[in-house]
């Protein structure tokens, strides 16, 4: 059974989505239980697959329909995709546990259909990560994109226009990717990633204009999907209006998986040599990434809406990831992959905290932070951990990823990127200290004026404890522990997982 684990990771959430649609009459409790059971099983299979990878220290291949690749489709789980699979399944499971109260608050009816979309999104993300076939990746990309449109449009307020924008931009991105795949297929005649890599390394294709166009289209498509700096405008608007659970699921995972696809395309399908010596865009991308890091944080600084703030922080983090991947040094690549994991966890952490605050106070602005330490002490501590990680303070994983990224940038001589990293860390510190100020003293412009939130707490006087329900606290605390744990075991993570996935040619 263990050798069937790769496919079970993907199929279990899929079947759960279909069953959730069919069993609407069994009630919300059943839907919640089924979703959690399916995601836990999927996480178990992901861990089993990762263990199998670690066991043999080589990639696990799974032939679908028993056809040998490249005729059939295969799943490839190596160190990189194994870790990302565990990250996705883990984050999804935590969000599913978290969703007990907020999801039923946001979806008064037909909760089972909401959960079905939830499971479909997770299926798409897991499938994209595990697949070894470029066209299959497109199909799964569209599944996750479609279900994310559905989930985002279920938000509160006028989310429909933002979702429509996201749909248009997302379709352009996916279609660029598809066209790029077409260019690669026309030049090579195959769709399997491993075989593509082999054929593309032939000298005549290294010089080919069409291959270069194919690469450009694929990377552009992925950049649109991952909201790299000039193409980022859709992200904060779409995320800020989403329902709480939707934001917790989509914000940490969608962009990270897109970054993973970028890494896959760059280093598995193409090679480090092709990208850094023939394409030679590194300079440009580093500048874009640096701008993203600074502009993202600056714009986040200007926001009052908590989730919009987090949305722009994601834009900045994407800058770190893209920059790290294009530094062309081993430390940069390590930093990018490590930051992918770290950022997934810390974004999840912060979105969960904000979701819990919104759940309790009903406010989405910075004013909701007022008296957070008195009212929701556990949530506040989790918030501190997440914030420390985004700023990059030592015991958390955010510090180590920045450490690797800066090390890589120094090795590559990309001083712009070093400066951008430092400046954006400083800005992040300012953002979060300002929120802490609101929490303790309640200034941050007029925010305090609107502060007396739900629950009848005035701005003055004793504040009662109104902690989030345990189903929200448990995943929050677990995420915070994961953020700290990933930081404490940095060395092990890098030695056992990331070092193995560093591509040849650095």
């Amino acid at each position: 059974m263990i050798d069937q684990a790769p496919i079970l990771i993907i199929i279990i959430p899929l079947v759960a989505a279909l069953l959730l649609t069919l069993t609407g009459s069994l009630g919300d409790r059943w839907a919640y239980g089924l979703l959690i059971a399916a995601l836990a099983a999927s996480l178990g299979c992901a861990l089993a697959a990762l263990a199998a990878v670690l066991d043999g220290n080589q990639a696990v291949h799974y032939r679908l329909a028993d056809w040998p690749p490249p005729l059939g489709i295969e799943l490839v789980i190596d160190h990189l995709s194994g870790v990302v699979l565990v990250l996705i399944a883990g984050c999804a499971l935590l969000t599913a546990i978290y969703s007990r109260h907020p999801a039923s608050q946001d979806n008064p009816d037909r909760l089972n259909l909401y959960y079905a979309l939830f499971a479909l999104l997770v299926t798409g993300l897991l499938g994209m990560t595990a697949t070894g076939d470029v066209f299959n990746l497109y199909v799964l990309l569209e599944i996750s994109a479609l279900s994310s449109y559905g989930l985002l449009a279920r938000g509160r307020g006028p989310a429909y226009y933002a979702t429509f924008k996201y749909l248009i931009v997302g379709t352009i991105g996916a279609c660029f990717y598809l066209l790029g795949v077409g260019y690669l297929y026309i030049m090579t005649g195959t769709l399997n990633m491993a075989e593509l890599a082999e054929i593309l390394s032939r000298p005549e294709l290294q010089e080919s204009v069409s291959v270069r166009i194919g690469f450009t289209l694929i990377i552009l498509g992925v950049w649109i999907k991952m909201a790299l700096f000039p193409l980022h405008a859709w992200l904060p608007n779409a995320y800020s209006k989403a329902g709480t659970t939707t934001a917790c699921l989509i914000a940490p995972l969608m962009t990270k998986v897109s970054v993973y696809i970028m890494l896959r395309m760059m280093f598995t399908v193409f090679s480090a040599d092709y990208i850094f010596n023939r394409i030679a865009w590194s300079e440009l991308v580093i500048y874009l990434a640096s701008t993203a890091a600074v502009v993202g944080m600056l714009t986040a600084f200007a926001q009052r809406d908590l989730r919009k703030m987090l949305g722009y922080i994601i834009v900045a983090e994407i800058g770190y990831l893209a920059g790290g991947a294009w530094l062309a040094t081993e430390a940069g690549f390590t930093g990018a992959v490590y930051h992918l994991l770290a950022d997934g966890l810390m974004t999840l952490c912060l979105f969960m905290v904000v979701g819990a605050i919104i759940y309790r106070t009903g406010l989405t602005t910075a004013a909701a932070m007022r008296h957070i330490f008195q009212r929701m002490p556990v949530t506040a501590v989790v918030f501190l951990v997440g914030a420390a990680s985004i700023i990059g303070l030592p015991p958390t994983c955010g510090f180590f990823s920045k450490f690797y990224l800066i090390q890589g940038a120094v090795q590559a001589g990309a001083w712009v990127f070093v400066a951008a990293l430092l400046i954006s860390s400083l800005l992040a510190a300012l953002i979060f200290f300002r929120l802490l100020e609101v929490a303790f003293f309640g200034r941050f412009d007029e925010a305090a004026g609107a502060a007396p939130g739900a629950g009848g707490h005035g701005a003055a006087g004793p504040v009662a404890v109104a902690e989030a329900p345990w189903s929200m606290l448990l995943p929050m605390v677990l995420t915070a522990i994961a953020v700290l744990g990933l930081g404490l075991y940095t060395n092990e993570v890098v030695t056992y997982f990331i070092r193995w996935s560093v591509p040849a040619g650095f």
Partner: protein
């Protein structure tokens, strides 16, 4: 702004048009796309699955994993449209707008529909079942079968169709078809083969592996057909009535 977009896009277009000169000639049998993988499909496909339509073979056997997600994509679309538009009693418009009643106005249309719809449905089923030997398959057949219901709704009204095909039945078919597909795959997995490895069915049905592939293709095509038929009807229900299921186009 529009001018700027136009200029940028035109420049990109020009660049790519010129770059297209580098592509292999159109229709060249020696191009990599035609000489690398496709001969294997064309030469082995028939022998391994006993199915002459190679497109069906590749769709439902070699790349059956893709096709499963194709069914899931349409299922997701129907689900999303339903989640977005469908108004529950709580959110329904209080007063339904008056729509022109079409009673007794289109005798010719209804007469023609009565003649065409049974033929269409039969043809849809034929296309699903005959996908092994002729163009067609689950997807096309499903669309035609679903279109017959849409035609009924266009010529009569939405209520007529809803009486024959209730909304929860449609939703059940949407998920059921995809579940049938995944179920065939899981059955193969349970029998000790890989997911969707139809050869597993040979032992179960007492047939050769080649025939098992052919039967497996039929089973998943039926699954796709059910899903697609239901999704098309569901999309029409929700989009044409804007989620009220009172009256369509």
């Amino acid at each position: 702004m529009k001018q700027l977009t136009l200029i940028i896009l035109a420049a990109c277009a020009l660049l790519m048009l010129v770059a297209a000169l580098d592509l292999p000639d159109w229709g060249d049998p020696a191009s990599p796309a035609s000489s690398h993988l496709s001969p294997a499909f064309l030469e082995q496909g028939y022998g391994e699955t006993a199915t002459p339509n190679i497109v069906t073979v590749v769709l439902a056997d070699y790349r059956s994993y893709d096709t499963m997600f194709e069914a899931v994509v349409v299922f997701a679309a129907a689900l999303i449209v339903m989640v977005l538009l469908r108004r529950t009693p709580r959110t329904r418009r209080k007063v339904l707008p008056q729509r022109p009643q079409r009673e007794g106005r289109d005798v010719v249309l209804r007469g023609a529909a009565q003649l065409i719809i049974p033929v269409m449905q039969l043809f849809g089923l034929y296309v699903v079942a005959h996908g092994h030997y002729s163009p067609g398959g689950g997807f096309q057949g499903g669309v035609i079968f679903g279109a017959s219901f849409i035609l009924l709704a266009l010529c009569y009204n939405l209520q007529t169709v809803l009486e024959r095909l209730r909304e929860h039945v449609v939703l059940f078919c949407c998920a059921g078809g995809a579940l049938l597909y995944a179920g065939v795959g899981a059955l193969c997995l349970a029998l000790g083969w890989n997911f969707l490895g139809y050869a597993a069915l040979a032992g179960l049905l007492g047939i050769t592996e080649v025939t098992a592939h052919s039967h497996g293709i039929l089973a998943v095509e039926v699954g796709v057909g059910i899903t697609v038929f239901a999704v098309m009807v569901s999309l029409y229900y929700d989009l044409a009535s804007s989620g009220d299921l009172d009256e369509g186009l």
